[in-house]
Amino acid sequence: MFIRWSAAVAAAILLSSPALQGASAADKPTDPQIAHIAYTAGVIDINAAKQAQKKAKNKDVKAFAEDMLRDHEAVNKQALALVKKLNVTPEDNDTSKALSKQASDKLAELDKLSDAAFDKAYVANEVAYHKAVNSALETQLIPSASNAELKSLLQTGLKIFQGHQQHAEHVAAELK
């Protein structure tokens, strides 16, 4: 059942849990749903980066936000080109909705902070967010994708986001 799966992903992302478990073959999201989730996850990080560009004070944090904006826009551009090529229409779903809801809450929360407090909270959230997305990619989205090109794009995405996670961890360590 897809709803159960998406609730699990949403919970995992909310809690930044290390892995998603208990999903059987029947829980597999479809390719149009996977494409929607991946694209939504990218948009969320782009919006977070735009907020950080306005609010961040630390130069490493500003540079990190710029890197996120550039990479996630590049990934999403590729994703759009691929769905067009495959003639797939991304399908909205409960996981995408849960992700978006959580992200807008986070934006509002971070918006109340400023200066060093904002920098720290933004970077901490970037670490947690990339960790959660990578876990979802690794354990659910990549194994569930049936189209080879979609799978391959998700695999490239995973490598990039693992890089972002490490980069965010470096920046977080520097802020302490």
Partner: protein, 106 residues
């Protein structure tokens, strides 16, 4: 052949090594799908490295010891000349999971 010409050829031969170092080679290092290849490569001081970024993402080749820091925009390449001997570990600043080693002989 006039002695004068012979002397100038000898002179040219004598100076040739100064213009083109005997071992100078061109080494290609490619970044594609977030992977640096070859992951380990040997070079000599004076060799030229061509850094090729085949990704749609920007990368860097940043030496951990600070010896070099090359920025590679998406789908672009850059060249640099190897200046100092030693084993240099380098990575991409944007994606620190991209790592490789350059072994530079004198």
């Amino acid at each position: 052949m006039k002695p004068g010409r012979l002397a100038s050829i000898a002179l040219a031969v004598a100076f040739l090594p100064m213009v083109v170092p005997a071992h100078a080679a061109i080494i290609e290092i490619t970044m594609e799908n977030l992977v640096i290849s070859p992951a380990e490569v040997s070079a000599k001081v004076g060799d030229t490295i061509i850094w090729i970024n085949k990704d749609v993402f920007a990368h860097t080749a940043t030496a951990k010891n600070g010896n070099f820091d090359v920025t590679l925009p998406p789908k672009k390449s850059a060249t640099s000349v190897v200046k100092k001997a030693g084993t240099v570990e380098y990575y991409c600043r944007y994606h620190p999971n991209m790592k490789a080693t350059l072994k530079i002989e004198p």
